[in-house]
Symmetry: C2
Subunit: 416 residues, 2 copies
């Protein structure tokens, strides 16, 4: 164990690797359930959680054929308001939940045809969708270009201010007694002996050389999850970074708000969204790029986002470009999250996830949330706390356990 | 005099209000000439000097009919290399002077016609200009779009890295003994009595409540010059901020340089320039906006700059958008700088500028450089040091004394 700086050596009931909204929501709820929680992150909240629009839009994020993902997203949306209300109540902070709904607009006839397919999909899920012609769209949002072909109002697709939400989660976790270690988890440690032969988790190793001793470990490290040693190799390979660039715009002093609803626009086949915040920010996003760990902001992406946003909402040109940023969403091969433990004892309805038969007893994952991390954070916290306290998680999680990627952990990966 | 914090009360031979490239170049040369110099600026170098492309292009910045401005710009270009060489020699720093020349390119036939007019103007000034077809342009710069209609190579239009240049000036000034007061000059103080009746400068008042006592004051405060009390009202009104937004791009790791020459492009009537730096930066600029003191970066300006740059150099889209920024150039009614003193004793060839007949004896101005501050900083320093040491400034300055805006200072403005 390389030692540099001051070594951290603490013990806890559970240690959580990753301080984004997923890890912090879990930490808060686990501490509120009476567990002694340590959360480890070198820069709490500097990941994908801060580079997000905070759209709470379960259907439009689920592709055709992803029925299981749609079901867990719908569970997440139903849970979000009560979770946010409790968070606001315990912290006294506002998280900026907006319920005005989402107006999807189509720029041309081809875009409109694609929107109609999305609308049919949404209705098949039993959700509201109100078709509007261009004039009706502009009645809802007067700054839309007259060129808009038509649109659909999705009144149940909301948004939250991801940065306020993340800040409130941090405060709630701290108030509940969560201890934060500002260091990177490099490995999950298993076994009492040097070979980790018994497969029981005993804590985590930190980049600066310290350790946290704990019989339970939750890996919630987003796109960095694959970099944690001690996880099965297939699982590490299953999480990849998907780069997203977005813009934070602000209204100049004295300009009235240019938007009320979230706008989700398709401009000649390109998707762009504009999400208004209560404090006058407008988020414009987002690219989806397979570029590995690259987090640079590129001229082309900024141009394209501005171009598409200005195409549907010309007044965007008058807004202040306050920030450009790029984040790495944790993507998975099936676009679904990875939530739960290993082995027969870890499925939904099967108890605490540290029973006999586990690949790595005491290890839980909460990662791979891709574009739905903000939306899914409350129900992910619910599921992980259920595992930790011996309760069954919601049945909607059954398709999303880690076992689908690592049912038979490879030898030499510290498991079984 | 309101007092807050620690009061500054110092004396000097000359105090310079403003620490951009103009003020700092003057400070360096004045100290090198043996004067005891104090330079006052609340944030030395946080003004227009840092939001510049550093183009040294005297002709293309002078409009038709501005012959006097062209002459002083040509003087400035001729002076720049030796000034930069001395600066590099005394500081050991590189200022990034690039002499590859400027390639002006025209996107369409209308742009080409405008370029030919500029070329004729340039040739009338006796300078080199080499006409090139699109193919020859791409031979010089292989990443140019094949759509470029044609271009002209101006081998004598150079560039300098404005930030390196400004940093070297600051270091040279410090090494020469210039003392820096980090405070804002709010007023030029005149007269021994309360009414300032004798019109002699006695120093400056600072925002934090202090004073610098000095028989000579140089106001080099750029677009803030109009905010200095004690200057004639017409002069204060003559300097206005002209907003310019520009972008700083960077090459991603491993990408070879996309440009060698400065590119000055006209894209369907819109001007954009791309200036490569030795360290891999590419500056894209710049807007010209009459927006008062507003320094915000707007979505529309960033879009337009990126769009025009990508139109002529498509590979721009792959560059990293490292910074967006906005600065305020000090514009004047005739687009010319304001350099010199007042009264019969201050014209070129007439001595030190504190003789009988001055409006405000001991007061010199060095402001209003608009788009040419970097280029003109060496010759402006030469001219002001000439005034300060009783030498005649170059004859090219004669049309640019403050008197053209304030020949008869108004009563009650603390002058005459």
């Amino acid at each position: 164990m390389p030692a540099k700086g001051v070594l951290v050596a603490v013990t806890a009931d559970v240690v959580i690797a990753g301080g984004g909204v997923i890890g912090t929501a879990i930490a808060w709820r686990a501490a509120a359930a009476g567990l002694d929680v340590v959360l480890a992150d070198p820069a709490q909240g500097d990941g994908a959680s801060l580079v997000a629009a905070g759209m709470l839009a379960p259907v439009s994020e689920a592709l055709f054929g992803e029925g299981a993902l749609l079901r867990v997203n719908l569970l997440a949306l139903a849970r979000f308001p009560s979770f946010a209300a409790e968070l606001e109540q315990v912290t006294g902070r506002r998280v900026g939940l907006r319920r005005e709904g989402t107006l999807a607009v189509a720029y041309d006839a081809g875009d409109y045809a694609a929107l109609m397919r999305l609308t049919a999909f949404r209705r098949s899920a039993g959700l509201d969708a109100e078709e509007l012609d261009g004039r009706a769209c502009r009645k809802l949002e007067s700054f839309l270009t007259p060129d808009v072909h038509g649109g659909v109002l999705f009144p149940g697709d909301w948004s939250v201010d991801n940065r306020r939400y993340a800040a409130a989660l941090r405060e709630a976790a701290a108030a509940a007694g969560v201890r934060v270690v500002r260091d990177q988890v490099t490995a999950v440690l298993t076994g009492d002996g040097a070979d980790g032969a018994d497969g029981r988790v005993r804590g985590v190793a930190l980049a600066e050389g310290g350790e946290v001793s704990s019989a339970r470990v939750v890996v919630a490290a987003g796109s960095w999850s694959g970099g944690v040693d001690g996880l099965p190799a297939q699982l590490r390979a299953a999480v990849r970074p998907v780069k997203g660039q977005l813009l934070r715009l602000r209204h100049p002093d004295g300009m009235p708000p240019v938007l009320t609803h979230t706008i989700r626009a398709t401009v000649r086949g390109a998707d762009v969204y504009l999400v208004p915040r209560a404090d006058g920010e407008v988020i414009v996003g987002a690219t989806q790029e397979e570029r590995g760990p690259d987090r640079t902001v590129t001229a082309g992406a900024v141009h394209d986002l501005l171009h598409d946003a200005m195409s549907v909402l010309p007044v965007t040109s008058e807004l202040i470009l306050a920030e450009t940023c790029a984040g790495l969403r944790p993507g998975t091969p099936d676009n679904g999250p990875i939530v739960g433990g290993f082995g027969a004892g870890t499925g939904p309805g099967n108890g605490p996830g540290n029973g006999p038969g586990n690949g790595q007893r005491g290890l839980l994952l909460a990662t791979g949330h891709y574009r739905n991390g903000i939306l899914m954070s409350p129900v992910t916290a619910d599921a992980i706390v259920a595992y930790l306290t011996g309760q069954p998680p919601a049945a909607e999680w059954e398709p999303f356990t880690p076992e689908r990627f690592a049912a038979t952990p490879a030898a030499g990966e510290g498991s079984r």
